[in-house]
Symmetry: none
């Protein structure tokens, strides 16, 4: 999940105890909100159970009736976030079906949706960002391992379709392209976060206007253009022949 703002996995591993699920909605949500807040603010290693129970307003002992340990809450939250993201995309992005599919316009749609989601769920974006940076290898692998099977990489699906329809250079190894798009997308997220911070400084109230902001739109276009056409000044490019 969250290799970047446009990648995600679908997962449904049930880690909290049954006791947790039996909780009244309000309390359950308080706990979830506190956990989201915690993992948005801190990496897994810096997150603490103490913070979560304090923000959720539940007793220490209760925590252990709902989860085995911090890792389990983490997995649960990562999972939840992934589900929300998938749900959002499924509702928002036109499914890449039918003949009308165009890889590059679909890409732009996906980007826009991604930024929209990030705008509406800044904490989930932060959680994703923290997860990407997670260096605890065994934790990473454990989470990815559990979720990868159900992962649904929109990019990969799109890519294959694009190749199929001849919109993408057929010489390109799809695996490498996927890797590249992933990194490209992460860089995009960084750009987005940097812009957000600037806007927040200058004009906190119209952060929401970011997406319709002309300059930012131009940057999006440039990034997409780079991905599509590369760096080369076309007449001069020679290396890759």
């Amino acid at each position: 999940m969250f290799k970047n703002h446009l990648t995600f996995f679908k997962g449904a591993v049930s880690l909290p105890t049954q006791t947790f699920f039996n909780l009244p909605e309000e309390k359950k949500n308080r706990i979830i909100r506190a956990a989201i807040q915690e993992f948005a603010a801190y990496s897994f290693d810096q997150a603490s159970i103490a913070h979560i129970i304090e923000n959720a307003g539940i007793p220490r002992g209760s925590f252990y009736q709902y989860f085995n340990n911090l890792k389990d809450v983490y997995k649960y939250i990562i999972n939840l976030a992934g589900e929300q993201k998938i749900k959002y995309f499924q509702e928002t992005v036109p499914q890449f079906e039918g003949k009308g599919f165009n890889f590059f316009s679909a890409l732009r749609d996906l980007c826009t949706a991604g930024f929209q989601f990030a705008l509406e769920n800044p904490e989930l974006l932060a959680i994703g960002n923290n997860f990407i940076k997670e260096t605890n290898k065994s934790l990473r692998d454990e989470i990815l391992g559990e979720q990868l099977p159900k992962a649904q990489n929109f990019y990969e699906t799109m890519l294959h379709k694009g190749i199929e329809l001849g919109q993408i250079d057929p010489h390109i190894d799809p695996h490498i392209a996927t890797l590249f798009i992933g990194a490209w997308s992460t860089a995009f997220t960084e750009l987005y976060l940097a812009e957000l911070k600037n806007l927040a400084h200058d004009n906190p109230e119209d952060v929401c206007a970011l997406l319709t902001n002309k300059q930012f739109q131009q940057k999006i276009d440039q990034m997409i253009d780079l991905l599509v056409n590369g760096l080369a000044n076309k007449p001069f490019s020679t290396v890759s022949e």
Copy 2:
């Protein structure tokens, strides 16, 4: 330093105490090795002094005669790694001087050198990777702040030269291009690490042959091609016009 495997800074902040520098080479190296090992395996927050002194085989108190705290060793090691990398590149990569400069072939040289360095110093690569992911903002800024002035971003230099010589599309915003190359470089590192792991599984002894390995060479070429020409199947690309 280490925004990715091809970016680095030159730095010379001296943080260990004089006592440390007075130590016999052998002992000093033992400590440095232990620290490198630690920061290669763990992020700054997960690294522990206990591990370092245990691996270096020095008593608890001695550590504090050499460094003030973990942060100081970290800075020292990051610095050392940066210096080694710069030294390596200066010795290996043909300086981009004179008329003969070609952005794309220079890029390939840089990549090859980067992989070579990573192959010879896998732990330094790991340290760099961990640093990129560092989420402790104040620590990041502190280290970058101390080293940025002396930073030397090869990509940026090259990019400007490439634009100057008309080898790169002049419409591209250099800032975004830098971001783009950064993403590309990160993807490259991931690719490299994945290959390494495969090789290590299959044929641990010829890891060193990776760079001359034909398949890997093809992948490098593909990556460069992606960067240069983009994804589009040229006759069909339309979006960015």
Copy 3:
């Protein structure tokens, strides 16, 4: 508090955690006793959490569930001691109200009560003594700052009343008089401690008889006489005119 054995403040700053206050009386008292013992025996800087938890028979971690650090226990104990002293005096010393007030007899009452209190609470006396000697200025100021607002300096109150009623030489600067009484009081405490030690040597069991001891009573009278009439053999005193 405790500028000397007859001065004190009233304070009610609550520093321990709620957890501490929830503890069963017996355990709470064990901890309080251990802390009192510690601060009676050692100055703040020499006191150690290790001693307290050992004497209280609680585990290391528990201490930190009750207090944030040594300073907080210290403040709490100083405060407790102050409250006990005030309570004692309020119950024992006739309030200096009404016309019948006589500075000098009130002083004697106060002294007697002070010695009585010290006798019954030798550890609190020791704590007060250690606090007076506290050289850590910021700690002093912090504690005094928190408690001064509620401070009730019996001497000063009495002094002003004595001046008002013409019982004290009107030429005397009240500030200096306060200083003077402070010194006198300190000397008194020293005298008292010395006597206590002697008695303890000779006849440990009748320490309690100290106050009714005739010789000691005479010493008290002498001290008061010194304060009231000074050293001079009256007909000969000349210096201060």
Copy 4:
């Protein structure tokens, strides 16, 4: 020594090693100065060998060739300070010999000399102050025990002479009077230090004028007057009869 700024002991216990005394004057003085500085700034418990060697500019190991431990330096310095004070007084204060002796004017002379000394040797005053506040009982006793035999309490000598010459109320127990004068003197020191601090704030350059400052002279006179004649408004004092 140093029960207050007018009390002191003479002592000559030689605690440093012979090696120390063999040192060239300059180096020896550097060490002494560093130690004085340290004990003026910190109480014994807070003082550290590290500070001293740093300020003296001597290596760690050397310290232990000159002294066994911190306590020994402390004793040595306390001793040195005492000797300096005695020397100063012997040179400055008219010896209380002959018929012309008057307790009260001698007292004023002593005070003035004491303040003068304090002004010229603020660090020694600070050391004395710190020693008075020393709560480490065994250390106190050890130092006092070693030095008391040779102690020379000017007050006590004077007092006896004053009684002898009928200048002091013969009913007064000399022991109690000594105790009282001691505390009085300490209070005096506090007053002096407070004034010093005020002056330092207002007019740092004329701190030296403090002693000739009229207001301060009046305070001295009031303090002496209180000691001589007591608090009572003479016609009304009744208690002590």
